[in-house]
């Protein structure tokens, strides 16, 4: 399990590193007294700031290390474990460096960016801990490709059966297959919005039009309603089989939709964590440079 590997890597060695960093920083902070109020300008403040800046650069290096597959500088798992614990400690180091003094300035900008990065990382750890088993139990031992392969086969079977079904059933089933919405944009993926449709023809007027087919329930209801009204046993059997295919389809589609949703939440924090990390590096440089421009 990846999350167990990250948090308990090497007997949680980096947890102790992180706690040690927090302890040393706190002691350093507490020695600021008298001469100046605690802030980034005391010698302790400079030390805490330097440590924080080095930590930020090192934490960002995880992105580089992950891509160097031939690197032998520790394992990626070890790096990630240290990334998590030292990144958490950074929150304390930087807060002590700033002495919780905030304002509308570049220094607080760097701090806020850092907090956003760290808290998005906390969310990432939460998902890494909680989502993998949700994902695997949802997939029931299958991969997503296998789920799609099964859906593809069910679609093919649905089309075949539909072709031999009455015209309105054929239109409904074929169109529901064609107009099945899976995934989509950011909102659709994260919140499972289902805009599936199908062409529903009205028996009396002969008119046809698109209708909502969320969770494929409408087309299933449509087929189910047609079964009692059929006169031929063979047609009833066909419709029965068609109904079975579409119910099976519904089950698969639910698993796929949930898989996409869980995967989305498992990844979405990285879209904040990584871009803000890069922005933080620039904000950090600006924070340091401007401090000494106006020394």
């Amino acid at each position: 399990m990846i999350h167990v590997g990250i948090l308990r890597h090497a007997g949680s060695r980096y947890l102790w590193w992180g706690l040690g960093t927090i302890a040393v920083s706190s002691v350093l902070f507490a020695t600021q007294s008298g001469v100046q109020p605690p802030n980034g300008g005391t010698w302790q403040g400079y030390v805490l700031g330097t440590a924080g800046a080095l930590l930020i650069v090192w934490l960002a290096m995880l992105g580089v290390r992950k891509r160097r597959y031939r690197s032998t500088v520790g394992t990626v798992q070890g790096w990630t474990s240290a990334h998590v614990y030292l990144g958490s400690a950074l929150l304390v180091v930087a807060t002590l460096h700033s002495a919780a003094q905030v304002g509308w300035n570049v220094h607080t900008l760097a701090y806020v960016l850092m907090c956003a990065v760290i808290f998005s990382g906390f969310y990432g750890i939460f998902t890494y801990i909680n989502y993998p088993h949700l994902l695997s139990s949802n997939r029931a031992g299958l991969s997503r490709a296998e789920l799609f392969a099964e859906l593809y086969e069910l679609d093919k079977r649905g089309r075949e059966l539909g072709a031999n079904a009455p015209h309105d059933v054929n239109v409904a089933t074929t169109s529901s297959i064609e107009r099945t919405a899976i995934g989509g944009g950011l909102i659709a993926q994260l919140f499972g919005r289902d805009r599936s449709q199908f062409i529903q023809s009205s028996g009396e007027t002969g008119s046809a039009g698109p209708a909502g087919n969320r969770d494929q329930q409408a087309v299933i209801d449509f087929i189910a309603e047609r079964i009692p009204r059929t006169n031929k046993i063979s047609e009833a059997e066909l419709l029965q089989e068609l109904l079975a295919v579409f119910c099976r389809r519904q089950a698969i589609l639910r698993r796929i939709a949930r898989d996409i949703r869980l995967q989305g939440w498992l990844q979405v924090w990285l879209f904040i964590h990584i871009p803000l990390s890069i922005a933080l590096l620039f904000a950090l440089v600006i924070h340091i440079v401007t401090t000494f421009i106006y020394w």
Binding site: N39, G103, E153, Q267, A279, I286, T291
Partner: protein, 574 residues
Amino acid sequence: MEALLRETGQAPDGTAEYRDLEISAERITIGSAPDRNIQLLGKNVAPQHAELRMRNDARFELVCRSGASVRINGEQTSAATLSPGDEVEIGGNHLVLFEPPAGFDAGLQITRDANVDASEFERAFRTDLNQAWLSKRAAAWIFSVLVIVVAFVLPFFLSQSNVPEIAALPFVPDDTLWSSGPLLPAHELAVGTSCNTCHQVPFQRVQDDACLSCHGRIEDHVEQGTLVSSTALGPTARCASCHREHNEPDPHIVIRADAPCTECHQESQRLFADLGIDPVDGFSERTHPSFDAYLYKPFASPAGTGIRFDWRTVVEPVSAATELSNLKFPHDTHLDVAKVMDPNSGEALHCTDCHRLSLDREHFIPVTMQAVCIDCHELTFDPAMPDRQLPHGQPLEVMLTLEGQYLRKFSDPAVDNKEIRPRRIPDRHDNTQVCVNTAFACAAEAAAEDIREQFTVRGCVSCHIVEQHAVPDIYSRYQVHPVRLAADYFPPARFNHASHLVMREETGDAACAECHKAQDSRVSTDLLIPDIGTCVECHSDVRKPGYVPLQCIDCHAYHPDVSRFGTVVEADEP
């Protein structure tokens, strides 16, 4: 347009079969996305691959989305005009336009790629966040550029170029964004948002010149020449060593801690060897030297027929020092209600009857004859004219006043009593002398006797030391020793008397007596100034229960008020 979509396929028995679908749409959308009118799967089919629109001339226009292409009759293109009979291939799928039957604007035969498998089917959907509009790389660029431009480039440009009209616009990020905290309000009032007023050279610490451009009159801690030549310390520290700006949350710009002072002063013997300054490492009897009082003392020397007094400042340890003001003043008598009482209330005198705090709350309004003592000690001399008083502080005028009084007495025909004033001769009741000489001679005789009494028996001599010289000239015979009272016993230090008017449970005279033991003082040579032992009963350099913490700068000014060193005494007024 009304379009007939005819899908070809194979029935399970292998025969060809057609399936027709009628659609009514403004344009026919083609792609792998499920919401397309014609959903085609395949490696090279984009979600929104192409659109088919009808033209006025019954022909059709096929337009591909950017990056996508199709093959029209075998030729690769991204846009084309189609007529019935044309064949379009999109990623292995074939679309053929045919003459539309009656009632339709378009006929399109669709033959799907039979080799499409489930993986391509999966690819038709956007199932990963990377396929949504999100992009880590793009977001990183956007955030980074925003940070660089807003936090650095714009402020830097505005700080280097003089374009006040841009800087004045609201929400324009200028170099105040680089400020690490609010300025002292007075400084903000003075310099506004102009960082360069103090930060004159990039990457250089704020120099003293920037401070002195406004605060030019401030005294330095020590005179540079003296310090550099006589100590190992070298130049004094920068203003900003003690005055830290942008230093929230402390609203005061002065660093109050002892450390910057004791850093040098604890090693005073090494650093200021020649200056003879005691080492200080805090405020306790162990870490702070005993107090030295600045006294003003007379040094007498013969001059003509009398004595000349030179007054000089003498610094002596409080524990061993004595006052030498030339004034006779017993504090114990004046505080004893059995001996001295307030002429108005009849109660004992209070400290504040004589010692009135001045506006600076540290010093006292000078105690002088005219301001204080005269309330009780009148200088009347003529019973006939009780409002007249001898001029204080002017011995010659005193003598001439007395002579004048007797001249009038003996020369005025209206005055019947021509007695020379009674002489106090013990055991003789009849001791009057009647004037038998000229009026002037009688007056001179009577005045000389009165002058002698004033200067040596009961007048001036009550409070003053009077020197009697053996000279025939009466005007030169008596010399009153001048009086000087110290106005400030500790010119280098500060002390707020107002905040000590209540001490623990004591108030009023009892509060004064906590430090100044006046009630036991019989002679004016007693120095009633407390030593450090008294202060440390209530004060400590560290915060602890039962003590008021005291820092160096509570009593000592880093920037000395040198004007006070030269005016440590007051002269008794005439």
